[in-house]
């Protein structure tokens, strides 16, 4: 006889037993030990059919191909730039992936992107050792100018974007700011200083209350 020991949206801790019995399946961030399904992280429990999964409340961003991230140039090599991805792994952007225009052989790369510049890029490749390649060639990818960049908990990115972008659209409409969210937990905000600050405060609020019910209503109240 299988028993489930937690409810949907319960906050669970590492090692917490979620269910007993072979009827349940270990979803992401859980594992099975004998008949028990146990949480591997501090997070929120979700039950989907027979699978129990935990959405972490904290933790590092795991780089994936096709993710859009915000990175910072930390080094210039012969073939391109090395960028800090806000993870334990830096990434390489080859000259040919930076722009569609032709780059001459001895062109000064620092004139295109200098150390310290922030860029919005897409991850094109991740190896098993977490060597990462990024590209800035697609539309919407570019060097960042002006505004401010803030660091958020990467696990909260989906909540800040919202279902089909609903949350981020709400914030953009209310503040008039350009907002670019990197999956790696960096967010670029550009508008008037007052609206940038408001956007930052709203995002921090969402981070701190992501697990509470009625989040959208709470956020709407922040704009009244």
């Amino acid at each position: 006889m299988s028993t489930i020991l937690i409810k949907e949206k319960d906050i669970v801790t590492p090692g917490e037993v979620l269910a007993e019995g072979m009827d349940y399946l270990p979803g992401p961030n859980t594992y099975r030990a004998g008949e028990k399904i146990i949480s591997k992280v501090l997070g929120v429990a979700f039950i989907s059919g027979r699978a129990i999964k935990i959405t972490p409340l904290a933790g590092p961003y795991i780089p994936k191909t096709r993710d859009k991230i915000i990175a910072q140039v930390i080094d210039i090599a012969m073939s391109g730039w090395r960028v800090d991805t806000n993870t334990a792994y830096s990434a390489m952007m080859n000259v040919k992936d930076a722009t569609t225009r032709f780059i001459k052989r001895d062109e000064d790369l620092s004139k295109i992107l200098a150390i310290g510049d922030y860029v919005v890029v897409s991850i094109t490749k991740v190896t098993s050792q977490n060597l990462i390649d990024v590209s800035m060639k697609e539309p919407g990818l570019r060097k960042i100018e002006g505004g401010r960049i803030i660091k958020i908990n990467p696990q909260k990115v989906p909540r800040i974007i919202g279902k089909e972008g609903s949350m981020i659209t709400l914030i953009k409409n209310k503040t008039g700011c350009e907002i670019t969210i990197g999956q790696n937990g960096l967010v670029w905000i550009k508008g008037t200083p007052e609206n940038e600050l408001k956007t930052q405060q709203v995002i921090t609020f969402i981070e701190n209350n992501s697990h509470t019910p009625g989040l959208t209503e709470q956020v709407e109240k922040l704009f009244k």
Partner: protein, 233 residues
């Protein structure tokens, strides 16, 4: 003379009052404050992050590194000169071994998770407080962990087995054994075991059995600290 009544009036299996809080250091990826009696510890976790020197990198998984340090004004007597002490280095190493069995860093090859522990005031049981606090901070940082680790210093004074020795008991003029223990929560397996003093094998095993209940009390404080972060307004 047998030590039957504890100096601070506690029962043999009674731990000192404990207090813990998660997420106390905003700059850190995870953090905790842990107190057992008059021993307090701040813990901060940074990582996974790039590991230097490169030769220490492990292509199969991330490295867990603990850095334990008592603050200069935290000793019961003289000021403690700042800098790496051999005691501090050994404690850092046994802490790593105490936490390693449950930490899963396979998703972070070549990286390091640094755990920094500093104690502003101490009254024995420092490595136990450090380990218990570190487990909270690692969970707070979202590091994958199969289980929590809880730690308490068991002991024996003049034949009586006790939980959570304080400094006066450790320094008691009699036959004393100081036994720091750390255990996993689910399986009650031992991940830290040290002993100094004089003790028979039977008494040591008795102490470990009693440690199961003692570490469970620490576990409750650790879990509350983590959950309170998300339920308190």
């Amino acid at each position: 003379m047998t030590y039957t009544k504890r100096l601070d009036g506690r029962k043999a299996d009674e731990l000192r009052p404990m207090e813990a809080k998660a997420g106390v250091i905003p700059n850190a990826d995870g953090s905790a404050y842990f107190r057992a009696g008059k021993t307090t510890a701040y813990v901060a976790v940074y990582g996974p992050r790039e590991l230097f020197p490169r030769f220490k990198q492990d292509p199969k998984k991330g490295l867990l590194r603990c850095h334990y340090g008592m603050l200069p004004f935290s000793g019961c007597g003289d000021r403690i000169r700042p800098g790496n002490s051999r005691r501090g280095q050994e404690i850092s190493m046994v802490m790593e071994k105490a936490l390693a069995p449950v930490i899963d860093l396979s998703a972070f090859p070549n990286a390091v998770v640094d755990v920094f522990i500093n104690l502003p005031q101490t009254d024995a049981g420092t490595r136990c407080a450090a380990i218990s606090g570190a487990a909270i901070a690692l969970a707070d940082a979202g590091i994958p962990m199969k289980d929590m680790i809880s730690s308490v210093s068991m002991g024996q004074v003049d034949g009586t087995i006790l939980a959570d020795l304080n400094y006066d008991e450790e320094a008691y003029d009699g036959v004393v054994s100081d036994i720091p223990v750390a255990m996993t929560h689910n399986t009650k397996e031992v991940t830290l075991l040290q002993m100094d003093g004089e003790i028979s094998k039977d008494d040591l095993i008795k102490a470990l059995e009693l440690a199961k209940a003692a570490t469970e009390k620490v576990y409750e404080v650790q879990i509350k600290a983590l959950k309170d972060k998300f339920t308190k307004k």
